[in-house]
């Protein structure tokens, strides 16, 4: 329905040539005949290169907003490479060391991909299903809010004393969000938090 994807290819020099057979095999065969050629001839198409579907994305690190291209292996659907997007007027294909390491941020044996739960007083993480975790977090959110909701609070009055003010808030819930999360998340999250009455709503953007 939505034509939200634009055509990413314009001046990109990326993967113009399809891969062929391994050039080094040729060399090995020559050496197998005992020929010490030292010079290995390779036609442009004879050296294989990783390739796949290219998807334009943005670097997750600082706020410069460098364009990146994630290359996806079409067979496995996995990201196999992330590099600078040469089309981007921001970075013209370049990246810093962090941006260049983005691939390892995605494909990393240290990455946790399963929900973990630590019970009060426990000394260990335990597994929990995503659904169970979401159900419990939703219930805790409601319970905490309901026990600690203020329709009004006493505020200092101009001439001394206190005046009741409508505030519809809770001080018992707080949310601290990073600044690598989408604009869309920021919007959805502030909307939900405000609907719940959360005022302790903060972001990395503060500091």
């Amino acid at each position: 329905m939505h034509d939200v994807k634009s055509n990413p290819i314009s001046r990109r020099d990326f993967l113009k040539v399809s891969a062929g057979v391994a050039g080094s095999t040729v060399a090995a065969e020559l050496i197998g005949f005992g020929l010490d050629t030292r010079l290995v001839h390779a036609s442009a198409a004879s050296v294989p290169i990783k390739k796949g579907k290219e998807v334009p994305t943005i670097c997750p690190y600082c706020a410069v907003g460098c364009g990146q291209i994630a290359t996806v292996d079409t067979a496995t659907g996995k990201i196999i490479d992330i590099q600078g997007n040469p089309d981007s007027p921001v970075n013209e294909g370049t990246l810093c060391p962090k941006g260049a390491a983005t691939y390892q941020l995605v494909n990393n044996a240290l990455r946790w991909t399963k929900v973990k739960h630590r019970a009060p007083g426990s000394d260990k993480w335990e597994d929990m299903s995503l659904d169970d975790a979401m159900t419990r977090i939703a219930q805790l959110t409601k319970d905490t809010r309901d026990k600690n909701f203020n329709e009004t609070v006493d505020m200092p009055a101009a001439g001394g004393g206190a005046v009741k003010k409508k505030v519809m808030n809770t001080y018992a819930l707080a949310s601290l969000g990073g600044a690598t999360m989408d604009n869309e998340w920021n919007y959805a999250h502030q909307k939900l938090m405000h609907a719940l009455g959360v005022v302790y709503l903060e972001n990395q953007a503060r500091i």
């Binding site: 020099d13 990326f14 993967l15 113009k16 040539v17 891969a19 050039g23 080094s24 060399a27 090995a28 050496i31 005992g34 010490d36 050629t37 030292r38 010079l39 290995v40 001839h41 390779a42 036609s43 442009a44 198409a45 004879s46 050296v47 294989p48 290169i49 990783k50 490479d81 992330i82 590099q83 600078g84 040469p86 970075n91 294909g93 370049t94 990246l95 810093c96 060391p97 962090k98 941006g99 260049a100 390491a101 691939y103 390892q104 990393n108 044996a109 240290l110």
Partner: protein, 272 residues
């Protein structure tokens, strides 16, 4: 036409993007000696050197690039400089490693001039290691072969530049035809001389038969840890004692056997 890189150290910011981009494209592991234990299994980095911001220390089988950091400050700090240089294989026209390799595992592309190690051919004899005047080539204990920069052999044969040059944020590393690159280097050198950089020089036009990866330096090569007059060992041999053809043949034969054995082992593994 020969391909190479012109590294203009005067606009290198020492960011090390080249180091990571190289590892990313070439799927190089973190350098094992940098960690106590496997970093993907709880191992911790332990390689603080105290040598300015260079913790890479040397080129290795897993570090094909290394940015050097040179601090030049007097007590007064007057006119102090912090120099950076992204070092790698120079892809010499007269490559010591290639000359030393008994099995021709190290070869040069006829079309592009880059020198690289054919992993399936290398027998791990390490003869090439001392033969490199720049300390570039290194042995990998896991693969039992030597490794170094290939000038992104796959990329440059598919219409792309090297991964390091592509990533470099300031254009300090340029990839291209060496003839074009020399023109750019000459122009930049002239510009810097006009701006008063008296010590600026190009490193690599003549060294080791000409380096396909050459540098614009702001000080003497030795300041950057580079030999002032690199001599490929085989040339030194020619000059002093002469070359023993018989010796070369014997070495070559021995190497050939070793290669075949490796090949057989590899085949056996495939069958399993």
């Amino acid at each position: 036409m020969a391909k190479g890189m012109f590294v203009d150290t005067s606009i290198c910011t020492g960011c090390k993007a080249c180091q990571v981009a190289c590892k990313e494209w070439n799927a190089l592991e973190p350098e094992p000696s940098h960690f106590k234990g496997d970093p993907f299994k709880g191992g911790i980095a332990i390689n603080f050197t105290g040598d300015s911001y260079d913790n890479t220390g040397s080129l290795s089988a897993t570090d094909w690039r290394r940015v050097r950091f040179i601090e030049q400050f007097s007590d007064s700090r007057e006119g102090g400089r912090w120099l950076f240089m992204s070092d790698s294989c120079k892809h010499c026209n007269d490559a010591g490693c290639l000359n030393a390799c008994p099995v021709s595992a190290i070869v040069r592309r006829a079309d592009t001039g880059n020198v690289f190690v054919q992993q399936e051919v290398c027998i791990g004899c390490k003869y090439c290691i001392p033969a490199c005047p720049f300390g570039v080539i290194s042995f990998n204990e896991k693969t039992k072969t030597v490794h170094k920069c290939t000038l992104c052999d796959d990329r440059i044969h598919n219409g792309l530049g090297t991964a390091c040059a592509k990533a470099c944020p300031t254009g300090s590393i340029l990839f291209g035809d060496t003839g074009d690159l020399r023109k750019k280097a000459d122009a930049r050198l002239a510009q810097l001389k006009t701006l008063g950089q008296a010590k600026a020089n190009i490193y690599g036009y003549n060294e080791a038969g000409g380096l396909n990866v050459f540098y614009l330096l702001l000080d003497k090569p030795s300041v950057y840890g580079q030999p002032e007059n690199p001599v490929v060992p085989q040339r030194r041999l020619l000059l002093s004692t002469g070359f023993t053809a018989v010796g070369a043949v014997i070495t070559g034969l021995a190497a050939l056997f070793a290669f075949r054995e490796r090949g057989a082992r590899a085949n056996a593994e495939v069958k399993q």
